[in-house]
Symmetry: C2
Subunit: 474 residues, 2 copies
């Protein structure tokens, strides 16, 4: 069964306006998981999309949280690919949007030209709908999709995929038939370079909390007049003392007992990938994007990459206590909260983190500090570049004229391990030729017109067609 | 010249409704210094009040900030008393007001009965207008005020009295003629006990701030994705490390070099006052009001009083960095700010504080942390109980049947030292028989009807008349 790509590509080109309309329609359906806004309506919409594509069993699978949309497309093919999708987005309440975030406006964004600017445009409603457009285009020209598809669209990615394991447990048999998992993405950077990542770090996210009530010292119910510090303990100072025991003076090396004990050095395969990556890694562009002048300890080049990819991190995402307005107000705060995340590298486990933090606090005499689990967290995930699924992605990029910059993994986190190392043990790959940005920020965008090396909507859809084709031949 | 108190008291009783009306009128004039709302109108109103009373030279004295209202009432008396007043209030934007905060409503507040509930009711517009009512009542019955009065009403007390020294410098000669300074207050606690304080601690208030820009490490302009902690420094962790060097593990003993070097033990007079105070000090009521279960190191009784009154304190009023909303958002914050106040006890000086903090940070390698001065601060102030002015206040309380609980000073701060130890070296006293509460909070109130031991508006005005009378005889 040989897929006539040209026919499909021609169809995609001809139906560009209509396909763009489907993206606009989809981003107009809110699906803000943090606010439970439009979640079920969006799930229903995807179920309809899957039915339209030809999935005969598409359905909403209930979990303790939001439903997972499930559906299979049986192509009678040899290979079966799980298509992992997320249908939830971040909220839209941050200031700075130049267009209404839920209207699906297409505007010119310098230097990218025509862009769809909307919440979810790149994270990841744009890719989701573009992938479905690609699949529909194959069928529209009388061809068959070259692999069987098992769709899994979750609505809690932005909340830490808390209930995805429930679904996976329930559908284990259906999922086990798959040969690989594919997550449609748009992986060009702002200069048009294709970045391919073979994995993610894991994450555990929690809060450390202390108030006078839990401590039996300090104010227990509200902030009191600041002059009372002379005779009343301060939960704020106490928390600062506790936190300070967790790192060295530079705030980098973690002093929690056993924090690094399971960290392994890069595998021989990773070392090989790093040797290549070092040559194309644009350090200055990375720094400029973050507005960072120097990395930790002034490391550069490969040393920086090693730090970035192979160090676990203990990060304070936020901390607050007392009066945080302008000017002066003297209070002794009754409570302090710190939001903390730990990033896991091989071979750290989710399960080891909180017990180690607890033991550290207890050993240092800070039994009163509470750990509040915010999400269950998930482990790191890695797919070997030698996996046929990964090679299918690389091959696609080469066919389109791109030499991808391959990262053994990224420092960010995603719930890929639920399909990968945990339970299913499937290779997990993502890819697609396109570009977008400002995820989790105002004016989130995906490029829809073609510009220079940067793929627009048509190229993105064509790349998905090619990826499916190449996955069928692995 | 003997003041016929009974005639005045009778007048006060008869004109209760009218006097209450003046308080209501006064609190209806906003004077929120933090927002520059109604400040000049309020100053003009007080100028008019002083003119009505008979001050021939009442005027607004300009400073670099808000004007000071100045005026002298020449009674041809032997003694001259500076009447220190503040005409500004806190803002009214906090939630929880049961009545509009600027309408001057009189409502029943359990267990106090009739109360004026308004911003400024007790801090300190109620007392200011009640004092003027008292003075006017003396004149209304054909008597003469028994002392000359020099009115000094500032509009920046809630901002740290930043520009009061400018005024004092300009009017040094006029102020130097005075024998004492009196601040009209309402000093009964919620149980009707009269609390008399002979001084205040000093205060220095500042912010400690760190961002990547000032440090050359870490993100310099905005929060970046939390996964970058692996290779990018965290200003948040760094600040926590810096702060942690400033106290012992319990957050109490201050480790800043020389912090305690100028602290002196209680004077023999203070020791004597403490011996008495210990017997009436209601420790449980104090703890209950603050909702505090235990004091630092579980101290009780006199030991608690010693800690409260004679320890300088280093307090974190507020601290914030990064994402402080609900749920999870992973960011590496580019900036952290801590609001800090230091309370000064004898013989510490305002001038010694920030240089010591700076030296401490530098010595510990935290040169990058900025100290942002928020207000100039002011020193501690104390008046001896043996001062005739203090004895005049005690005598007044005794005449009204109250045995005051005398505190050598309180742990709070007020700009009394500007009249007291600095420049003028005048005894500074405050007093008045009345009760109010919830200063800086919603539903601020002053009791206006009489209830049990608690003085209402008439008693408060009578006590001011008696204080002036007793001050004239010192």
């Amino acid at each position: 069964m040989r897929l006539e790509r040209d026919k499909v590509f021609d169809h995609i080109k001809k139906h560009y306006d209509e396909h763009l309309g489907r993206l606009q329609e989809f981003v107009r359906q809110p699906s803000i998981s943090a606010e439970n806004r439009g979640i079920r309506e969006c799930a229903d919409l995807i179920k309809r999309y899957l039915t339209e594509l030809g999935c005969k069993d598409s359905r909403l699978v209930e979990t303790s949280g939001y439903p997972v949309v499930y559906g299979t497309y049986e192509a009678g093919a040899d290979k079966t690919i799980i298509i992992y999708l997320m249908y939830d987005t971040q909220p839209v309440d941050e200031p700075g949007w130049a267009v209404p975030p839920l209207e699906g406006r297409v505007v010119n964004l310098d230097p990218f030209g025509k862009c769809l600017v909307a919440r979810g445009a790149i994270n990841t409603k744009g890719e989701l709908r573009a992938f479905l457009n690609a699949c529909e285009s194959i069928r529209a020209v009388g061809e068959e999709i070259p692999v069987n598809l098992v769709f899994v669209a979750e609505g809690e990615e932005e909340l830490g995929s808390r209930h995805l394991p429930e679904f996976i447990g329930q559908y284990l048999r259906e999922l086990k038939r798959a040969d690989a998992v594919f997550f449609p993405s748009a992986d060009q950077n702002q200069k048009g370079k294709v970045i391919m990542s073979l994995g993610v770090k894991g994450i555990v996210y929690f809060e450390l909390e202390l108030d006078g009530k839990g401590w039996c010292y300090g104010p227990t119910q509200f902030d009191i007049h600041g002059s009372n510090k002379a005779w009343v303990d301060s939960p704020t100072w106490r928390m600062i003392q506790a936190l300070s025991t967790m790192t060295e003076e530079d705030g980098n090396k973690v002093l929690i007992e056993g924090f690094y004990e399971n960290v392994v050095p890069p595998s021989p395969e990773d070392v090989e990938l790093l040797d290549k990556l070092e040559k194309t890694f644009d350090e200055e562009a990375s720094k400029d994007m973050m507005k960072v002048e120097r990395f930790i300890d002034d490391v550069r080049g490969k040393e920086a990459l090693l730090k970035y990819l192979y160090s676990p991190s203990l990060n304070i995402d936020g901390i607050w206590s007392g009066y945080i307005g302008p000017g002066t107000k003297t209070v002794l705060p009754y409570k302090i909260t710190a939001k903390v995340d730990v990033r896991l590298v091989p071979n750290m486990t989710v399960e080891e983190v909180l017990p180690k933090i607890r033991r550290h606090l207890d050993r240092h005499g800070f039994k009163e500090i509470r750990i509040v689990e915010l999400e269950e967290g998930y482990g790191w995930a890695k797919t070997s570049i030698k996996e046929p699924a990964a090679q299918a992605i690389v091959k696609t990029y080469m066919e389109f004229g791109y030499d991808p910059e391959i990262w053994p993994h990224i420092a960010g986190s995603a719930p890929f391990c639920m399909f990968n190392r945990e339970t299913l043990n499937l290779p997990f790959v993502s890819g697609g030729i396109g570009h977008g940005g400002r995820a989790h920020a105002p004016n989130e965008y995906i490029v829809v017109g073609e510009v220079g090396l940067t793929g627009g909507l048509a190229t993105l859809e064509k790349s998905y067609v090619a990826i499916l084709d190449n996955l069928s031949k692995m």
